[in-house]
Symmetry: C2
Subunit: 333 residues, 2 copies
């Protein structure tokens, strides 16, 4: 079976081909969304580059809640219809997945994902234990991959964690909360833990310190923070990581991911040296009062590339094929 | 099949018999834990009251994380061993469930639960949609009942939501946070949203208003608040409900329970007239900025009695029996 898998991000769309249940490495490609008027135009360009193929299925991961016939992107004026995709690709099966659901499905086979350890646990991971992914990029969200007690296929639970209330502690963070909430009524997790959030936290720190903002984009702030070149960028990055650690710890207490926690997204990748090389994230993750020993039993890893959602699409297609063929849907660990 | 189901709470233990998959109403009983040295002593007394029966199975819901052989209560020096329970009851099958997992299983058949509507949604509940229970009593916790996309049996996800960070907004709540965190390092959700939490919130309000505390226990505070008899009790109850609404809304954004939200626990039941009869809880639940329209699509109900965990044990036993007999485990809506 040959399938097209696709992950429509905020800025870029990533695509790949799947042959015999595996992503074909040489088929991976990425396109800037702004260069195209529609998703179909991206796919057309991609398929021309590859040379036309007969496709059996398509799976598209995107930040949207699909209806039966189509999916509308929440952050771009693209609507993707099943009928149009069937006509364009020749594939009879067109599947849509929420982008974080796709990340959740990738956690079925974490050994296939490039990752760096952030938190190590003393105890081995139990078999069939819940895993969790959380990501800070254009937005923020999380998803859990559960192994149900009854039944063989994993269950991936989507969520809208980015819209929950940012949990602040202490007076300085209360002032930050007020700054983030200004004109919006409240400060959600996503308001702080995203690319735009890092920029707002940096602006807050510069204002607090009476310094001009030297860095502009979140990428510039991350680079300056990692290089140690800008005192406010360093402070902003550590404040960001303290909030990220606290939120990750709260999500761990919610989903109980004893099988592993995976950090995803452009901002996490950009801050990787500080996540791994300093104690800020780790200390904030574990700062749960008398539950601190409980927190020590979780391990966390940073996902290093941006093809994770494509891997998730591959896993999902495999489960769909198994369930359609009447097999149990049992999955390798 | 005759089974014994049991729910060991912080103060009381509730028991009942199950015949042909249904709780026998006349068999329901409740015992004060302080009157007994062990759980087995409770069961012995109960079985004597009923007249000895042949039991095929036992299911015990409790606030604990069971091991393979036994379960140790977290808040009382009772250890319940499988071997001892088999000898005591003659039942070959002894099952343990986390107390909130049991509540989650009860949500498989919510039509069997006595409940009062708190939030009505304009749209009908989708079939096979996630449901969620959250409870404020001795402690605080939540659980979700998912319908996996692949597989017939529902998946109940346990959590430790009570230990997450209490989400505060604004300066007054920041001062409350400091009071709740005093000597503890942090303020968890449970620190505020529990019986003890209501007492601490009341003490905070009395201190803020320069008034002596008239009410003592959380039951007295609830009664005074509902009666409108004590200005500080009323204020404390509304502050409690504002926090409860916010936390419930954040949990809804996390678990996406489009199948319904269920409030449980002694403190929720005691404050029922204010949850239903004022806007405090509802307004706080929906106050999610631009996600407010999304929040309007959830409905919420207050569970009115304390036998919900027993109902959950019944559902769990039914699923266990189905999976052992090789059936699909398909469940009625």
């Amino acid at each position: 079976m040959t399938a097209l898998v696709s992950d429509i991000g905020g800025t870029n769309t990533r695509l790949g081909l799947v042959e015999d249940g595996q992503l074909v490495p040489t088929s991976l490609d990425s396109f800037a969304n702004d260069d195209f008027d529609s998703y179909e135009a991206v796919v057309e360009t991609y398929l021309e580059r590859l040379g036309q193929r007969r496709l059996d299925a398509c799976c598209i991961a995107l930040a949207a809640a699909p209806t039966a016939d189509a999916a509308q992107l929440t952050n771009r004026d693209w609507t993707i219809g099943r009928t149009g995709m069937r006509a364009l690709t020749g594939a009879p099966f067109i599947g849509f997945l929420n982008d974080f659901e796709a990340l959740g499905y990738a956690l079925i086979a974490p050994q296939r994902l490039a990752a760096q350890t952030v938190l190590a646990s003393a105890t081995p991971r139990p078999a069939r234990a819940t895993r969790m992914v959380l990501g800070a990029g254009t937005g923020f969200n999380a998803a859990a991959c559960y192994w149900p007690a009854f039944g063989a296929a994993p269950h991936v639970a989507a969520a809208e964690c980015g819209h929950t209330t940012l949990a602040i502690e202490g007076e300085e963070e209360r002032v930050l909360q007020a700054a983030l909430a200004a004109g919006r009524g409240r400060a959600s997790v996503e308001r702080a833990l995203s690319g735009n959030g890092l920029r707002e936290i940096y602006a807050f720190v510069c204002d607090r310190d009476g310094q001009p903002c030297e860095a502009g984009t979140s990428a510039e702030i991350s680079t300056a923070a990692v290089a140690g070149a800008d005192e406010q960028a360093v402070a902003a990055a550590h404040l960001f990581l303290r909030l990220l650690g606290r939120v990750a710890g709260d999500l761990a207490l919610t989903f109980l991911p004893h099988g592993g926690i995976y950090l995803y997204g452009g901002v996490c990748r950009a801050l990787a040296p500080l996540i791994v090389g300093t104690d800020t994230f780790r200390d904030a993750f574990r700062a749960k009062g008398r539950m601190a020993p409980f927190m020590a039993d979780f391990d966390a890893h940073l996902l290093l590339d941006d093809r994770v959602a494509l891997s998730g699409c591959v896993e999902w297609l495999r489960i769909v094929a198994s369930s359609r063929s009447g097999k149990s849907g049992a999955c390798p660990a």
